[in-house]
Amino acid sequence: MGAFIVRRLLNYVVLVFIATSLAYLGAATAFHPKDQYLQKNPPTPAVVMYHELDERNGNPDKPVLERYVKWVDGVAHGDFGKTWQLDSVQKHFSISVWVTVRLVSVAAVLSAILGVLIGSFQAVRQYKLSDHSITFASYLIFAMPVFVLAPFLKLIAVQVNKAVGGDTPLLQYQGEIDPNATGFFGQLFSRADHLLLPTISLSLGLIAFYSRYQRGTMLDVMGSDFLRTARAKGLRKGRAILKHGVRTAVIPVMTLVTYSTITTFAGAIITERVFGWNGLGSWFTDATRHADVNSVAMITLFSAVLVLIAGMLSDVITAVLDPRVRL
């Protein structure tokens, strides 16, 4: 069994390496950092330009493969190169990644819990009015991509603020925290206030997704013998459903939850852009606009690794939750 896991891990590592290499080579051939220097006004002196391009390992006079080998060598030694502002990529990464973590964490946990609960609730009350209306709502949410949902939430926030009035707007929709917020609770409140709309925009889709799935698995469980046995032994309905129903039905859903949770950390691009958070997603789009190969490769590597971790973790979680599975 150990050999199987090692072989699988090895295969994944090879996949991640190839995926990142593809991203690097794709970016290195698609981006033209030199053109960006030439478009600058006032123009950069040629000496400075070539010096900076060399420092970024983006000199178009050197063949792509040579740059790639240099980059791989650097990465092997823990050096991911320079960003377009000639910062260290690792430094930029260590700042951005925490912004994304602060943005996504609450949404990830909240949507997993709410999704499972709402889905189970729907299954218990199948074909009732509540089930139908939640189903319809999730259809509507599925049809609303984040780039529609996020500006829409902003729209609502502005109208709410206008209706409430007051000096400071009630609902914040730009950035992480109000720089004027003072005191522990003042800052905490400001953070929560800024987090509210992005969290809704991130979690609504996930909740709809999880609850659809949980509803399906839960419906399969609802008619099962073991649930009837639990009731026959005298367990109260709510307790039987929670302990024997939801816990069984949640196992396949957890695979989905693990995957989606982990991959949201890599890509909250739209939410970050619309609500002005400088996390990994906005870094990625900025880097593409500035023809920054190193940053783009770093973020691709990070998200490929996340997918890998998600794959391994979802197996472990299934094994932990499901007594029938042994790793």
Binding site: L15, I18, A143, F147
Partner: protein, 309 residues
């Protein structure tokens, strides 16, 4: 020599409809009957047809073209001249929305056809030929699953800058076939062990003929459903890219660029500049998803009771 075509247990006589239904058109008619009973699916179908008609004839309702600027009326409210108002550059939002819908719908259909087709071919080939073919295709599928597709599309976006917008179709399809291909492979693995496939193989029918004649019809339900849902997914992906400025660029417009344009006004009093194009996108996706789910239920061979007839 003719090859006996044995339909795999999905013939209508299994359902006890009696011999009145001819075998030839039985399944299509059965699916249509089931589909028609599904109210949401019919709403989706009618809605999508109307949206198509609107996208391709709506342009006649206004004399403005999407690229034209009305410098006299910039950022104006909806009026009889500008049905959806104008943005800060004086673009008529109605003309832009209609033209954007056209492009988005075309891209959605083409991407869905291409990616479902690729997934069908690769998935069946992997499972049917087995051996090294299987290993290679599965490995490629895994590789493309690990590659973050949206990031990759953004990285490669400079390539299709300044070229024809149609290049977006193969690009989006390239990162969209993997999951279907896996499902198709799984289904083919079971179908290829069935007697009629084995019989055809022993009779010396060429492999691709077997795949076309015996395997594809038996997994067609997943392909049809997948095609429908992919239309929605492709429209969203294209709009996502265009929204960020990495997809379709001026002078071409798609729903993504129009929504991006309008979203700058979402937090102002001109929020309708955002609301109109966004509402049309939501309507399209909603209709496509209704149809997809309706088709899934209608094509489901395991449905029982009243819904089976």
């Amino acid at each position: 020599m003719s090859i006996p075509i044995i339909d795999s247990g999905q013939t209508p006589d299994v359902l006890g409809d009696g011999p009145a239904v001819s075998v030839q058109s039985g399944r299509a008619r059965l699916v249509w009957r089931r589909f028609r009973r599904n109210k949401l699916a019919m709403v989706g179908l009618v809605g999508l047809v109307l949206l198509f008609v609107f996208a391709f004839t709506g342009g006649h309702l206004t004399h403005w073209s999407p690229a034209e600027n009305d410098f006299v009326n910039t950022q104006s409210a909806p009026s009889s001249d500008h049905l959806f108002g104008t943005d800060d550059a004086g673009h008529d939002m109605f003309a832009q929305t209609v033209s954007g819908m056209q492009k988005s719908l075309i891209i959605g259909l083409l991407v869905a056809a291409l990616s479902t087709g690729t997934a069908g071919i690769l998935g069946t080939a992997a499972a049917y030929f087995g051996g090294w073919w299987d290993k290679a295709i599965v490995w490629f599928t895994d590789l493309f699953l690990v590659v973050p597709s949206l990031l990759m599309l953004i990285i490669l976006s400079p390539y299709f800058q300044g070229t024809n917008w149609i290049i977006l179709v193969p690009m989006i399809a390239l990162f969209n076939w993997m999951i279907t291909s896996r499902v198709v492979r799984g289904m083919t693995l079971t179908v290829r062990e069935r007697e009629f496939v084995r019989a055809a193989r022993y009779m010396g029918v060429p492999s691709w003929t077997i795949i076309r004649r015996h395997i594809l019809p038996n997994i067609s339900s997943i392909l049809i459903v997948d095609f429908t849902l992919n239309v929605g997914a492709a429209i969203i992906t294209e709009s996502f890219l265009s929204f960020l400025g990495f997809g379709i660029r001026t002078p071409d417009v798609s729903l993504g660029t129009v929504i991006d344009d309008g979203s700058n006004f979402a937090s102002t009093d001109q929020w309708y500049l955002f609301a109109f194009p966004a509402a049309f996108l939501v309507l399209i996706i909603l209709c496509v998803n209704f149809i997809g789910d309706g088709l899934r239920d209608a094509l489901d061979p395991n449905s029982t009771g009243g819904s089976a007839r």
